[in-house]
C-alpha cells in the first residue's frame, strides 16, 4: 500500500512550509493588537525594593506598564510545578511558586520583572529603558555543587541546603558491601552540562480577551495546548477552563522546552483583558537564551563494581540536579527519569542511585530532548568504557557480557521499569556490520596519513518513551472525508502524514483526503501534547482504538443501509460487505449516507465518527547501538565526526523516512552537547555569558558526515501498534558515543577524561596537561 504503514511517504504538510505559507505565531496579527516587551532582572539574586514605571508609562505609544504588584493585586497566581514527587507517593519537597512578574525578589537574571505594552515593539523597547528598578543585591550561587555546601546563599528559605527533595531508587541497601568487596571498582565524577533547546522558532504568543463572552484566547507556540489551558485556568487566572481557549498553528520546534506555560503567556493572557486589546509578545534570540527554561545540568559521583570477569555487581551514583531558581512545569521529570533508567541495558543485581533537586540562581531546568535519560545513559556508558580500559577488557565485549538478554525479557530493572522487548546483542552486531567495524584499521591509518588521530566508540542505549493516556477522534464530514482530531501536537514530527498513513491503512480512506486537526482546545476536547516520544505509541494506539470504533459504528450503519444485521457485515480495505454476498458499501458512502438529514435512526448516530483512548502503565523501551568514529587534530584539539552509524530498535516502523530523520536530528543534538554546546553562567556575577549565537556554539552542517541508520525491530508489547518511541533516542545515545570516541582517539596520548562539552580548547589543554 503506497501510503500505508511502513512506507516512506512524503509529507503532506511540506508544501506550505516550502512556499513560505506556514503559520507560526509571529505570522499572526490581530486587529488592534499591542506589543509587549519584558524587563528581565539585572541580578542573579536580589530584593526588589521598588520599581518606578511612571516615566515609561508616559512614553510615546505606551498603553500600559505592569509589574508583579499589579499582577498580584488582581489576585493572579504563580506558576507551580506540574507535579512533585509527593504527588506520586514520593517524598515531600519544597514546591516553588513562580510569579510570572517577580513581586519582591528575583532569583535569576532571566526572571521577568515588568512588562511594557505599547503600539509597536520598538516603542515598547524605547519605554523599557525608562523603568527604574531599585535592587538590593543578594549573594548568589550558580552551581549545584556549591549550592548544597554549608554557607551557600539560600535561594528559598524553605529549602535547606537548597534542596527541594532527594529521590532514591534501586534495591541498594547492600551497595556499599558490594563495592567494598568487588574485584574492581570504577569511580567517576561526571557533570552533564547545561543546554538550551534553541528551537529555530523562538517562543511567542498573543493573548486576547473577548469582553462580550468573557473568554480568553491564547495563541502560542507550544507542545501542549491542553496543559497550558489547565494551568491558565487553575493556577494563573483562576477561572473555569471553558473560558479559555489555547491555540497553536505551526510550531517551529520544541524539544521539550515548549512543553509548559511560561510567564510571558500568563502575562499576555491576563494583560489582554486589562488593556482591552490583544497583546502580542515574540522572543528575540537573546531573550530566548536568557529566559527559555534550560536542559540537563546534573553532577554525579558514580561507582561501578565489577567482578574479575567484568560482570557488573553493582551501580551506585549520587546526583545533584541543578533545577534552577524554580521548579517549572515538568522540572522534576529529568530527575525522576535519570534514576529510573540508571541501569540502562545492563543486568545489574544491585542498584543504588539518588538524585537531589537543587536550587541555584539560574534559569529553571525542564525536559530537553531526553529529559533525564541522556544523563543516565551518559553515566553508564562512560563508566563502561572507563571500566573496560581500567580492566583491560574489550569495550564491546564488556557490554555484551552484561547485556540484559532477550530471553530475560520482559525484564524488571531494580529501579522499577519493565523492559518489554529487545535483542541488544543482535542489534549491536547488526550495527557493527553496518559500520564496517572490522575495517576500522584501514580508516585509522588513512586518518593518520592525513595528520589526524582517529578514535571510535560503540555504545548501547535504552530509552523510556510514552507517558500518560491519550485521546484521538476520527470524524467524517458530509463529503465522506476524514478529519483526525488529535490530542498530541505535531511540531515537526510529520503527524499530518503519519496519522494519515495509519488511518488510510486501517480504514481504506484515501490518504490525500485526510485532514489533521490539532492544537486547539476548542476543537480538540482533550489531549496531552507531544513530548517524551509519545505521539506514535500513545497517540497512534488511541487512533487505532478510534478506528476500531469507526468500524464498529460503520458496521451498524452499513447494516441499516443494506438492510441486514450488523453481525453479517465485514470490513475490509475500506469496504463494508455483507458476508457471502456481493453487496457492499465503501466507508466513504457509509459516511456520506450517515450524515443525511433523514433516514438514519437516532440510535445509530448522525454522521460517522469514532473516539479512542489509550494508556500504557509502562513506557516502551526503544534501544539501539550507536557507533561513532571521530578525527582529532591533536595540534588544535578540533574534533570532527567522520562516520556515524545507528541501528535502532524502535519496534514497528510506521514511516521510515520520518523515523530516520528523528534519529538524525537527535544525534546532531547529542553531538552538539558532546563537543560544542554549553550554557554558562559566570560564578562571580551570576550573569549568563553564553547569551547569543556568538557564544553558544550550535552545530552547523560542516561539523558532520552522513549518519547511517537502519532498524532492527522487536515489536513492543506495550501497545497494539508494537511501536516504541523514536524522538529522543538519538540525543540520548550520541553524547556518550561521541565522547567515548574522542577519548579513544586521545588514549594514545594519555587523556582519559574530558568535561562536556569537549571543545577544541579543552581537548588541547587536556593534551598539554598529560604531556607536562
Amino acid at each position: 500500500m503506497r501510503f500505508g504503514i511502513g512506507q516512506p511517504v512524503r509529507r503532506k504538510e511540506d508544501p506550505r512550509f516550502l512556499t513560505g505559507r506556514g503559520r507560526y505565531v509571529d505570522d499572526i496579527n490581530l486587529s488592534g493588537q499591542t506589543r509587549a516587551v519584558f524587563l528581565y532582572s539585572q541580578y542573579a539574586h536580589a530584593i526588589i525594593k521598588s520599581i518606578d514605571t511612571s516615566e515609561a508609562e508616559r512614553a510615546p505609544g505606551v498603553v500600559a506598564v505592569f509589574t508583579g504588584q499589579h499582577y498580584k493585586a488582581d489576585g493572579m497566581g504563580p506558576i507551580e510545578p506540574e507535579m512533585m514527587p509527593e504527588d506520586m507517593g514520593g517524598p515531600k519537597g519544597f514546591r516553588t511558586a513562580n510569579m510570572p512578574l517577580a513581586v519582591d525578589r528575583v532569583r535569576y537574571v532571566g526572571q521577568r520583572i515588568a512588562v511594557v505594552i505599547a503600539e509597536t515593539e520598538a516603542l515598547a523597547r524605547d519605554a523599557l529603558d525608562l523603568i527604574e528598578v531599585d535592587y538590593e543585591e543578594l549573594p548568589h550561587v550558580t552551581s549545584a555543587v556549591e549550592a548544597v555546601k554549608e554557607g551557600a546563599p539560600l535561594i528559598h528559605e524553605e529549602a535547606p541546603q537548597n534542596k527541594s527533595f532527594t529521590l532514591k531508587m534501586g534495591n541498594g541497601d547492600s551497595i556499599d558491601d558490594v563495592i567494598n568487596s568487588a574485584h574492581h571498582v570504577t569511580r567517576m565524577t561526571i557533570h552533564n552540562n547545561r543546554l538550551t533547546a534553541l528551537t529555530m522558532e523562538p517562543r511567542g504568543c498573543i493573548g486576547e480577551y473577548n469582553d462580550g463572552t468573557g473568554r480568553y484566547t491564547l495563541y502560542t507556540s507550544t507542545q501542549n495546548v491542553h496543559g497550558m489551558k489547565h494551568v491558565l485556568s487553575h493556577q494563573i487566572l483562576k477561572i473555569p477552563e471553558r473560558n479559555i481557549r489555547v491555540v497553536a498553528h505551526d510550531v517551529g520546534g520544541g524539544f521539550g522546552m515548549k512543553g509548559e506555560l511560561y510567564p510571558e503567556e500568563a502575562i499576555a493572557t491576563w494583560a489582554a483583558a486589562k488593556v482591552g486589546r490583544p497583546v502580542k509578545w515574540i522572543s528575540t534570540r537573546a531573550e530566548a537564551f536568557l529566559s527559555d527554561d534550560q536542559g540537563r545540568d546534573l553532577t554525579v559521583e558514580a561507582a561501578l563494581a565489577l567482578d574479575q570477569d567484568g560482570r557488573i555487581l553493582g551501580l551506585k551514583w549520587d546526583g545533584l540536579h541543578n533545577v534552577g531558581a524554580y521548579i517549572n512545569g515538568a522540572g522534576c521529570v529529568p530527575i525522576l527519569f535519570s534514576l529510573k533508567l540508571a541501569p540502562t541495558v545492563y543486568d545489574i543485581p544491585v542498584v543504588a542511585v539518588t538524585n537531589a533537586a537543587v536550587f541555584t540562581n539560574t534559569a529553571p531546568t525542564i525536559p530537553y530532548r531526553g529529559a533525564g535519560r541522556p544523563e543516565a545513559v551518559y553515566i553508564m556508558e562512560r563508566l563502561m568504557d572507563t571500566a573496560a580500559r581500567e580492566m583491560n577488557i574489550d569495550r564491546v565485549e564488556l557490554r555484551l557480557r552484561n547485556f540484559i538478554r532477550s530471553d530475560q525479557m520482559p525484564y524488571e530493572t531494580k529501579t522499577g521499569w519493565v523492559y518489554d522487548t529487545g535483542n541488544y546483542a543482535e542489534t549491536l552486531n547488526k550495527c557493527k556490520v553496518l559500520a564496517d567495524w572490522d575495517g576500522y584499521d584501514a580508516r585509522k591509518k588513512a586518518s593518520e596519513s592525513r595528520g589526524f588521530q582517529r578514535g571510535r566508540a560503540l555504545i548501547y542505549y535504552v530509552d523510556n518513551t510514552g507517558i500518560f493516556n491519550e485521546r484521538m477522534e476520527m470524524r467524517f464530514d458530509t463529503d465522506g472525508n476524514l478529519t483526525i482530531l488529535s490530542g498530541v501536537l505535531n511540531h515537526g514530527q510529520g503527524h499530518e502524514t503519519s496519522f494519515a498513513q495509519m488511518a488510510s491503512e486501517w480504514l481504506g480512506v484515501p490518504f490525500e483526503n485526510i485532514r489533521l486537526a490539532q492544537a486547539d482546545t476548542d476543537e480538540v476536547s482533550l489531549g496531552r501534547g507531544t513530548y517524551a516520544s509519545r505521539s506514535t505509541m500513545v497517540g497512534g494506539s488511541a487512533l487505532r482504538a478510534a478506528a476500531d470504533q469507526v468500524i464498529e459504528r460503520g458496521k451498524s450503519l452499513a447494516a441499516h443501509f443494506m438492510e441486514t444485521d450488523a453481525d453479517k457485515i465485514e470490513f475490509e480495505e475500506g469496504n463494508f460487505k455483507v458476508k457471502d454476498t456481493n453487496k457492499g458499501m465503501s466507508i466513504t458512502e457509509v459516511a456520506q449516507k450517515s450524515s443525511l438529514k433523514m433516514g438514519v435512526p437516532g440510535h445509530l448516530g448522525a454522521g460517522l465518527e469514532g473516539t479512542g483512548a489509550f494508556w500504557s502503565p509502562m513506557p516502551s523501551f526503544p534501544n539501539g547501538c550507536h557507533i561513532c568514529e571521530v578525527e582529532v587534530n591533536l595540534s588544535t584539539g578540533e574534533v570532527a565526526i567522520d562516520k556515524y552509524t545507528v541501528v535502532d530498535d524502535i519496534g514497528n516502523v510506521i514511516n521510515p523516512l520520518l523515523a530516520t530523520a528523528q534519529i538524525h536530528g537527535g544525534v546532531v543534538q547529542g553531538v552538539g552537547q558532546a563537543l560544542f554546546e554549553n550554557i554558562a553562567y559566570d560564578d562571580n556575577s551570576g550573569q549568563l555569558v553564553s547569551g547569543t549565537l556568538m557564544d553558544y556554539a550550535v552545530p552547523r552542517a560542516d561539523c558532520f558526515s552522513d549518519i547511517n541508520v537502519d532498524f532492527n525491530p522487536n515489536a513492543s508489547t506495550t501497545n497494539p501498534l508494537g511501536v516504541k518511541g523514536v524522538g529522543e533516542g538519538g540525543a540520548v545515545a550520541a553524547t556518550p558515543c561521541t565522547m567515548n570516541a574522542l577519548l579513544d582517539a586521545l588514549s594514545s596520548v594519555g587523556v582519559d577524561d574530558l568535561p562536556l562539552p569537549a571543545t577544541a580548547t579543552r581537548v588541547w589543554e587536556a593534551i598539554q596537561r598529560v604531556s607536562a
Binding site: 516550502l18 522558532e201 505551526d250 520546534g253 530523520a661 536530528g665 549518519i707
Partner: protein, 200 residues
C-alpha cells in the same frame, strides 16, 4: 542599595550610558538625491519583490525582513536570531542570497528581491523546493525558507557541489531539527534538477 536605569539584560554598567530623553533633537534633512526622499522621518522606497514593483514609505531603521513580513505581509521569511548568524531570514537581493535581517529596507531601494513566496510557479514547486520535499529536508519548517533560498544561491554559483561544499555553504544556515543530513541530500538533488532550468 542600587538604583539603575534599565537595560534589557546584561551586567550592570555593561551598557553604554544612554540618554533617557524621549526624542532626539535631530534636524530633519533635505530631500536626497536619487529615489530616496526623506520628508520627516519616512522615506519612500521602491523595489521589485517577486516580480512585482512596489513602493512604500518606511522609517530609516526598518529592516528588510520587517518590511517583507509586516509591510508586504510576506511572512515566509523568518527571524530566528539577532546576530545575523542563523540564516532563517535569507532572501535573494539582486540575484544573491543575503540575510534580510541585516539589510535596511532603504538599502534595498532599487533592488530586485525574491523571497520564498516567489519561487513556485502557481502550484508547481521550484526544483529545489521539490527536492526538499522528496528527500525530507525539513521537519518543523522554520529554517526551511532560508535554507532553500541559500541552497539556490549555492547551485547558481556551483551547479554540481560536492557534499563537503554543500556542508560548508550552510555555515550561515542553522537547523535544529533535521541534523542537516537530509538537507544535504535535498540540495544535491535539487541542484541536479535545476540543471537546464532558468536560474532564479
Amino acid at each position: 542599595m542600587v538604583k539603575l536605569f534599565k537595560s534589557l539584560f546584561g551586567a550592570p554598567g555593561a551598557d553604554e550610558s544612554k540618554s533617557t530623553q524621549k526624542s532626539d533633537p535631530v534636524a530633519s534633512s533635505p530631500v536626497e538625491a536619487g529615489q530616496i526622499s526623506d520628508h520627516s522621518d519616512l522615506i519612500t522606497v521602491a523595489m521589485t519583490v517577486n516580480g512585482e514593483k512596489i513602493s512604500r514609505q518606511v522609517e530609516g531603521r526598518r529592516r528588510l525582513v520587517e518590511f517583507l513580513r509586516e509591510d508586504l505581509r510576506l511572512t515566509g521569511t523568518h527571524v530566528s536570531c539577532d546576530t545575523a548568524q542563523c540564516g532563517a531570514c535569507t532572501i535573494h537581493l539582486d540575484g544573491l542570497p543575503v540575510k534580510s535581517c541585516a539589510v535596511l529596507a532603504c538599502q534595498a531601494d532599487g533592488s530586485d528581491i525574491v523571497t520564498i513566496e516567489g519561487l513556485a510557479d502557481g502550484d508547481k514547486l521550484h526544483p529545489m523546493q521539490e527536492a526538499f520535499r522528496e528527500y525530507h529536508g525539513l521537519q518543523c519548517g522554520f529554517c526551511t525558507p532560508g535554507m532553500v533560498m541559500s541552497a539556490i544561491g549555492l547551485i547558481n554559483d556551483n551547479p554540481s557541489p560536492t557534499e563537503e561544499e554543500i556542508r560548508d555553504h550552510l555555515e550561515g544556515n542553522i537547523c535544529r531539527c533535521t541534523g542537516y543530513h537530509n538537507i544535504i541530500k535535498s540540495i544535491a538533488a535539487g541542484g541536479q534538477a535545476m540543471k537546464g532550468q532558468n536560474n532564479v
